[in-house]
């Protein structure tokens, strides 16, 4: 029972981390209908920016307090991501309005390659440390009930809390502020929103900026766990099944999908994996998502696809 609970908790927390990345996908798809394959590269780019600025700011300004350096680096990274959003909107999306889904998908793939190259040219190829003070030691709960206790990874727990706070903040943003309402209007119907006077260009820059900030938070959390280096962009591949399981247009879907995929992945690796030789995590997540899709082709919480002839 103990190991099972351990795996379950571990899966739930890792699932929250996936949801964090999946949120970026959902935000952009909801508002502009673009499936942003570059989300992984954005996570990497944002994390690199933060890690390197955190290193460079003490060198440039002489401030050696870690907290101040991190805070300034965070702010600088946000500026970078907003600038990136603006550039993408202006140079890429603005000129690909009304193209087919697959063309937009390929454009974001092109952006992925560009960002990965740019990130490494600007910030370097090494593994960079990102230390925002997340605790690294394991926590053992219920040691009396289960031998050895239940392992709870403190870093993952903190990350899950951060993800939850972020989702709550986003929910508030969407429900209570005028910009949030405008975003929801654009997500609903582009033309109607435009006819009411909502500037689509500006909205899309805002959406990509918000997605960029979400990518930054995801990058900080994952980067703190794994170290900031090239493979960070591959977490996007782990977040894809989450996105399609939950539904491309649903924020609660991203959360629920994340939890399901996280738990499914870890349970399968530990209980089914040894019989198959191990290493089944990645494809199992996709197969799981696939099975759910066979039942609900638009994802658990996604909008029903209505075909008109």
């Amino acid at each position: 029972m103990g190991p099972f609970l351990e795996t379950l908790f571990g899966g739930l927390m890792v699932g929250m981390l996936y949801s964090l990345v999946a949120l970026g996908f959902v935000l952009i798809f909801k508002a502009s209908g673009v499936f942003n394959f570059a989300q992984g590269a954005m996570v990497l780019f944002a994390a690199l920016a933060m890690a390197r600025f955190a290193e460079w700011i003490p060198q440039w300004t002489g401030l050696h307090d870690k907290f101040v350096a991190n805070a300034l680096a965070f702010a600088a990274a946000i500026v970078v991501m907003v600038a990136l959003a603006w550039v993408i909107q202006k140079l890429v999306l603005g000129r690909l309005v009304n193209q087919e889904g697959i063309t937009l998908l390929m454009a974001t793939l092109g952006i992925t390659y560009f960002l990965e190259g740019l990130g490494q040219v600007a910030f370097g190829n090494d593994i960079y440390k990102l230390d925002v003070g997340l605790p690294k030691d394991p926590l053992f709960l219920f040691e009396k009930t289960f031998s050895g206790g239940i392992l709870v990874n403190q870093e993952d727990l903190a990350a899950a809390l951060i993800a939850a706070v972020l989702v709550a903040a986003l929910a508030l943003f969407f429900q209570k502020t005028a910009t949030g309402r405008a975003l929801r209007a654009v997500a609903d119907d582009h033309q109607a929103a435009q006819s009411v006077g909502i500037p689509l260009d500006r909205i899309w820059v805002i959406v990509w900026s918000v997605a960029g900030i979400v990518a930054l938070v995801a990058g900080i959390v994952w980067g703190s766990k794994l170290g900031v280096q090239f493979s960070l962009s591959l977490v996007a591949l782990k977040a894809l099944p989450v996105v399609i399981l939950g539904g491309l247009t649903s924020v609660p879907g991203a959360i629920v999908g994340g939890l399901l995929i996280g738990v499914g992945e870890k349970l399968s690796e530990i209980y089914i994996g040894p019989h198959l030789g191990g290493g089944i995590e990645i494809w199992f997540a996709y197969v799981l998502a696939l099975l759910f899709l066979l039942v609900r082709p638009q994802g658990l919480f996604g909008e029903k696809i209505i075909d008109r002839v």
Binding site: K136, L151, G227
Partner: protein, 446 residues
Amino acid sequence: MTLETLKRIAVAGALVAAGAAALVTAPSALAQAKEQFFPLLVYRTGPYAPNGTPWANGKQDYLKLINARDGGINGVKAVWEECETGYATDRGVECYERLKGKGASFFDPQATGITFALTEKVPNDKIPLLTLGYGLSAAQDGTAFKWNFPLMGSYWTGSDIIIQAIAKKEGGFDKLKGKKIALVYHDSPFGKEPIPLLQERAKMHGFELQLLPVTAPGVEQKATWLQVRQSRPDYVLLWGWGVMNSTALKEAVATGYPRDKMYGVWWSGAEPDVKDVGEAAKGYNALALNTSGQQPKVIQDILKYVHDKGQGTGPREEVGSILYTRGVIIQMLGVEAVRRAQERFGKGKVMTGEQVRWGFENLALDQKKLDSLGFAGVLRPLSTSCADHMGSTWARIETWDGSKWTMTSDFMQADEQIIKPMVKTAAEKYLSDKKLTRRTPADCQT
């Protein structure tokens, strides 16, 4: 014509021009006379770059040293060209094809996957393949693998030495019975290579071997280490590369597995792997093929003749680190093979790949020679022959003390009684699969 169509035609025209230009581009001319060409296959980008970069820098710096300090190899200047492979086999093959025609002396692919691919090609192109401490373990048998040189060790010798070290710690091979040893390995030819030897040892001594593959590039190890925690092996062997190493150590910390029970292969025991984790990785052990530090004479020379003159390939702080030094050693072995070839085929002349191969097969680097080259204390003496393309099967254990690596054991030698039969069987299988024959004794003389 509208602006739109003009734009489109411009795009098309540009493409055609570029295409035509590329078609007429021939690869650059052959190396000039009196220049020995060393192709350098490297990866400075991608998930394995943190470990590949110091290795590449070491190789290049040594060549610069040879030119700056010695004026070349008996007067023949060294020239080189780097080609980025990104650890990908197809890019590696493409780099090989591009560089082989320039008079390549030898290739060090820096990757086991690329090694397997090139092993098929080098017999036709007659260029030796130096795979120090990696690659095909069976290639130790020189009569079957004429062109492969896994100098200083393979994954079979390495894993054998780790088991010996563990047995020593436990107090004898008989104490291994009933224990559990887990292998956390990179799911690729590199990671799978030690498995046959570990299974052989497990059979011999009665310990249980648990295999835990990690999908490349190795960032996803949470489930692996949860399994480690649940099955509680007595020891964990780490066979990783690049980011997989530091991730493994971080996960070991996160699941509370004692780091002093972890033993890594010599590719999992360098500074980039533990720097991030720092103090928390204290006690982690790894195989060591070479020492590190800026004391050895050759490193001092590199600092003096290359870095002080502003010619250093990488940052100065990196000089003398473990992988950097290994790169220096690899290039030194190549240069010595050329030098040895020159002794037979003409001093002061440019050597072909075939001649360099003979040089590799007849290396005799004893302690005196190593000292004169400036490598005193860095590596053990090695000497190769027609049948033995490995030269030395010694290594020792180093341990991370939180801030640096220190040697914590004597040199141990892999047990040839176990390895030789395995090498023979594997070589036989390879030869029969490819319908090749063993080399004749006469062939050993060429």
